[in-house]
Structure formats: C-alpha cells, structure tokens
Amino acid sequence: MVAIVGQTKNIALSARGRKNVSVTSIDTPRVGLFVTCLVDAMRPRIGFAAIALLEAAGCVVDIPQRQTCCGQPALNSGDHDGTVAIAQQTIALLEGYDHVVIPSGSCAATICGHYPELFPVGSPWYERASALAGKTFELISYLADIRHWSPDRVALAAHATYHDSCSGLRELGIKAQPRRLLAGVAGLSITEMEGAETCCGFGGTFCVKYPSISNAIVDEKASHVTASGAGLLLGGDLGCLMNMAGKLHRSGSPVRAFHAAEVLAGMADGPAIGEEP
C-alpha cells in the first residue's frame, strides 16, 4: 500500500480562519485605520465608531490620508495587473504601522489572504505583502482577540439578529467575536436567524452584474431577517448591510440596520442605514 504523506497532522481542527497572524503584543500599538472606500463615501459614522473603539481599546489611531480602496473590485473582475498596482500602493501606505485595522471582513481578507497570493513566493513584494497580511485585522475581531477589549457601560435596549458576512466568516474565522462583544451591551438581545451564515447575495460587483440572481438571494435573506423577529440587523460589512437594508426597505420592512461597531461604540441611538439624521 502506498502511504500518502501530507499535512494531515498539523492542520487546524477548524476549517475556518487565517493562518498568518504574526503580531507581537504591544501596549499602545500605533494603528493605521483603513476605513474602506464604502465607509468613506457612504457611511462615515462607521469610521468614527472605529476610531472611538480603537482608542477605548488603548490604541493610537492614525488615518493614512492617501488611502482609497483595497482593490477588491479589480481582484474580483480578474484584472490581475490592476490589483497588483493597487496592492503595492496600499502595502506601501500601510506597512509602517504596528497594526492595520479595517471595519470590514472582506477588505481585511483581501489584504490578509489575497495580497500575498498576487506576488511570486519569496519575491520582495511577497515578503512585504505577507508582513502586512500578518498584522492586518478586521475591527471587531481585533478588539476581541488582540486587544481583549469588551464594552463597558454601553447600553442599547433592542432585539437584534446578526449576519455573518462570508469573507470575514470563512477567510478570517469571525463568528464568535462579534457575538461575544455584543453580549456585553446592556439591554441588547440577539436572536439567530435561519441561514445567518448564508451569503446575502451582495458579492461586490456581482450584485450589479447579475442583479436578478442577487435579488433572489437577498430576497430570501430579507425574509429570514424578518422571520427572526428582530428589530435590528447587525453585521460587520457595510456592503452586505446596504444590500440587505436596501431590500428590507424596498419591501416595507421596519427592520433597521447598523454596523456592529456603531452599536459597540454607543452610536446606535443615531440614524440607521438609510435614515437621515
């Protein structure tokens, strides 16, 4: 019989999550906040919530002024050269920080998972991409896992349900962290909806390239949100939240949507997605 030798022995028991975290513990890390193009243009409150949370967790927060987009639209369109150019620009912009934090699982996964794959293994850019990947984090998991922060005197009398955005869930292993932190918000209860881990149909450019398929998916998702009985929909990725909130609003649902960071920063008394202040 032929013995198949593989990496069977050292694989992680969980199929999810990342393998490239390489942070040293720093008391007061200098954090570069990459807010994402979507938060910048659509919902700056999430950026401000991120600053407040990071400062509460003992970080010195800097906002690199020349940040734009992580390059995901090019990556997902197959524009390899364009993605490489954007990745190099972003790596050069962010690599000087102790840690880089992003209020989005999918943008964080682009840097943590996909940037290194863009370059030949062992090349200088590969090394730089890998180094950045190792110290880049999605906001909520950073607060929970790296800063060991938990909310203190944050209250919100509400009944919420939580959508696990796909990249954060499967590429970064974000599942328990937001629930753990949200459990510390006084007065907030969470009911899991059916299919919380099922894609909402956003998929970046997918939702406008294949609108009818995206619509069928988000329609089913919206019905699961409604069926949960929750009044609030929470999540960690603005793109998915806008997709679901937009569908809920079109269908006349009263469910309101917030990024989890807004709730944790005590900012959920303000306007929800699509509400005017």
């Binding site: 019989m1 593989g6 002024q65 796909c166 499967r170 937009g246």
Partner: protein, 466 residues
C-alpha cells in the same frame, strides 16, 4: 452577462415549482450532511487525508494509470483509451455493435452525460434504457440532469407522477413515492434482463487490483452490469486511487457529503469478466478511460479540480445554484464544480458567465470533502477571461476608470467629494429608489443615501490634517 445565460437564469427564477423542488432536495441533503459531519469527530482530518490522496494520484497520474491498466488486463478486462468525448463515444458504440446490441441499459454516470453518450447511442440507433430512477425520469421527460447526484432534482414528485401516468404501461394509482417506484420497477425490470450490453460509470478505479467501484442507492447498477453479456465502464482518468483502502477513505467522505448516509445501499466492486465457476457476470468487461480535457487541467492551473468526487455538496450549499438550479448553468455539470469544469469542456468563450456568476462566499470550499479551493479556481477563470480580452468593453472601461482614480488619491478625494453630494440629489428621506447607472441595484432594492461629506473630508476638518 450573455443573453443566453440571462434567458436561462430568468426562466429558472420565474419557475416557482423549480425553487420548491430544489429546496426540498438540497435542504434535506444539507441537514443530513451536517448531522453526519457532526457525528464524525475527525472529519477535518479525514478531509485533509482525502485531499492528500487525490493530490498524490494527480501528481502521479501516469504511474497509476499504467498500473491500473496492467492489473485490469490481468483480470481479464479490456482497456480502451479515449482522448476526447468523440473517441469515447465511438469506442462505446463500436463495442455495442460488436456485441450485436439492440438494447443497452445504462446506470447513471455523469461522465456518460459529459461525453454525450445518450445522444450518440440514439444516433447509432441503439435503444437506451436508463435504469437509475432519476435518470429514467429525465429520459421520459426528454430532459438533461440538473444535479450530479439527483439528476431529476428539478422535478417535484407531483410532476413525476404525471410523467409516469403518461408513459408507463401499468402506472397504477401512484399515490405515494413507493407506488411510483413500483411503477418504474414494473416498467424497467423486463428491460434490465433483456439488454445485451450494460453501461456504467465508475466512482473509483483501483490501481493495484484493476477493479472498479460503483456506488448506488437503488441497486440498478448491479442489474445493469450483471445480467448483460457485455459490461462497458466509462470513467474519467481522475477516478484513480492507489488501493482499496484509499477508496474506502474517500468513500466515507463521498457518501456522507452527498447524502449524509454512512454508506450507499450498494457499493460494488467489479474486477474482470465472469470467470469459470462464477454464478454470474458479463462475458466481456470493457473499461474506457476518458481524458476529455483532464490532462490539460494538470498544466492549466486546475489540477486540484481533478480531486473532485462528484459528491454534489458544493451544489447543495451554493446560494446561486439553490436559486437558479442546474439547467441555467448550461453545461453538463452545474453549481460551483460545474462553473470550474464547464469552461474546460465547452470553452471559456461560451461559458465565461459561470465563473463570474458567483459571490465568492466560500461555502462550497468549506463543505468540499477533498478541500478543493473552488473560489480560487473560479478566480483563475476570471483572470483568464480578463487576460484573453473576453470581458465586455463596458466592464473593462469601468474598471479602468475606477482604477485610474484609486491610484491617484488626490483625484479620488476630489471625485468622491463631488459624487457624494450628487448622489444625494436622488434621495428621498434617506433612500434612493432610482439613479442613473445604478439600475442593477435599484431595480430590486433601495440604495441608502450617503452622508453629506465623506469620512476623509470630515476627518481632515476635525484633525486639521491636509
């Protein structure tokens, strides 16, 4: 997206019965698989082992093919090699003619569908009897399979009842699923026994013995391969495993991932034709090994796809498949694995919607029993489509213009500073119901109005940075 694909997708989305049928079968499959996986503490290690076994075979394909051929011939089988679908069909038709076959029975095989065997048999004037219940339904309906494990998944049991009533000689009351199975059995039994040739696929080709393994739940494969004088196996060259014990490791993964059962009702090993003293078995046993693009996958960055066990788990868990069903994909294989394989089989030009009609949510990879990185392989097709200039000029232009901005942060700031207030002009009470260039979004959902000022502008004012 191409109009042919759009038309298929729209037809599927408009068919509410289809959605009911898909939800019934895939819903059961998902929950049974989840229970089977939960009851298997070492599932993740088993997956890694499965992946390693298949990767090992793929890396040593020529070696195992030669070993398999040697041992199969030694067992009395005749081995044939087909470079592509046409050659494979020619070989099978030739063997049928040589056997003087008027009627052949066929046990479900996706490879048979891939090479177009049903069509080739019809062209050759040979009667084909599908013995798998679902394939029988598909044949009666003049349809093609819409799922690799449940070919007739797109039909509700009510629709199947109508089909049997119209086509079976003695349908009876058809009041229950059991009654329907009974009707099919009465219809098919005589044909099983009268066939000259039985054609099956193979789930595994076992190199060190030259045996092949088939798994079914209905026992039809056994009735297809045992009574006829000639048994023809058609199998893709990637079905190889080094030995029986490797087949067993993979079998555990395959069956649990497909149906959630521990084992199929029938797991049969065929090794050579009937020997002197055997109670039954075919007089001649032919194995047709089919390449049909597989060896090219080795060098085209798709080697990992050769690990596929055809379990169907990625289809059952795919949010796109669950809404559009199998036929909308337009190829032999639907779902995530199909979106990787169809461009190999049919060419990227005609199928380049498939790798793009995916949200890259990763659930397929998460459930794949041999850890195939399906999203990565789909991204590979997207890269290739871009490189080969298959993307429409509108998409290329939009990505080019966007990239120009993203690469110039000063210009990007300016552009967002102008665009954001402009978007607000379309908003009513916080929501945009329609906006130029946003029809893809606003046709189906509202778009939340952006804030008055971008984050970067607000922070610059607050922090006095420039």
């Amino acid at each position: 997206m191409s109009t042919a694909f759009t038309a298929r997708v729209d037809a599927a989305l408009a068919d509410r019965t289809l959605k009911i049928a898909i939800d019934r079968t895939t819903g059961t499959a998902r929950s049974k698989r989840a229970a089977a996986v939960a009851a298997w503490p070492h599932f993740q290690q088993a997956r890694a082992l499965g992946r390693d076994i298949k990767a090992h075979v793929t890396a040593n394909l020529a070696h195992y093919l030669a070993e398999f051929e040697r041992n199969a011939i030694a067992s009395g089988a005749q081995v044939h090699w087909a470079r592509n679908a046409e050659e494979a069909c020619e070989i099978v038709i030739g063997l049928c003619r040589q056997a003087g076959a008027r009627s052949v029975t066929r046990a479900k095989s996706m490879l048979g569908e891939e090479i177009g065997l049903p069509h080739a048999l019809a062209e050759a004037g040979i009667e084909r009897v599908e013995t798998d219940l679902a394939e029988h339904i598909v044949q009666l309906a003049g349809d093609t399979p819409s799922h690799i494990v449940w070919p007739a998944l797109h039909k509700t049991r009510e629709q199947v009842g109508e089909l049997f009533r119209a086509n079976h000689a003695d349908p009876g009351a058809l009041a229950s699923v059991e009654a329907m199975v009974g009707s099919a059995r009465r219809q098919l039994r005589a044909k099983f026994m009268a066939a000259d040739v039985g054609i099956s696929g193979a789930n595994f080709l076992i190199a060190d013995t030259g045996a092949i393994c088939t798994v079914t739940n209905e026992g039809n494969a056994e009735l297809t391969t045992t009574p006829p004088r000639v048994h023809i196996v058609t199998a893709g060259i990637e079905k190889l495993v080094p030995s029986l014990s490797h087949a067993m490791s993979l079998l555990r993964l395959l069956v649990r991932s497909a149906t959630g059962a521990e084992l199929t009702q029938y797991t049969t090993f065929h090794c050579g034709p009937k020997r002197a003293g055997d109670a039954d078995g075919p007089q001649a046993f032919h194995i047709v090994l089919v390449d049909n693009g597989r060896s090219k996958m080795l060098t085209d960055g798709l080697a990992e796809m050769l690990s596929c066990l055809r379990c169907g788990a990625c289809l059952n868990h795919c949010v796109v498949y669950r809404h559009i069903g199998g036929h909308a994909y337009g190829g032999t294989y639907p779902g995530p694995m199909g979106s990787v394989l169809t461009p190999v089989l049919d060419g990227l030009e005609t199928s380049n919607d498939l790798p793009k009609a995916c949200t890259l949510n990763g659930q397929c990879q998460e459930v794949c029993p041999v850890m195939i990185p399906l999203p990565t392989l789909l991204r590979g097709w997207r890269d290739r489509s871009w490189r080969e200039g298959l993307e429409p000029a509108t998409v290329r232009g939009a990505v080019w213009a966007w990239r120009l901005m993203v690469m110039r942060p000063g210009l990007y700031r300016l552009a967002t500073r102008i665009a954001v207030p402009m978007m607000r002009l379309f908003a009513r009470r916080g929501w945009i119901a329609a906006m130029p260039l946003a029809g893809g979004w606003t046709r189906h959902r509202d778009f939340p109005a952006p804030a008055r000022q971008t984050f970067m502008d607000q922070i610059r004012q607050q922090r006095g940075q420039s």
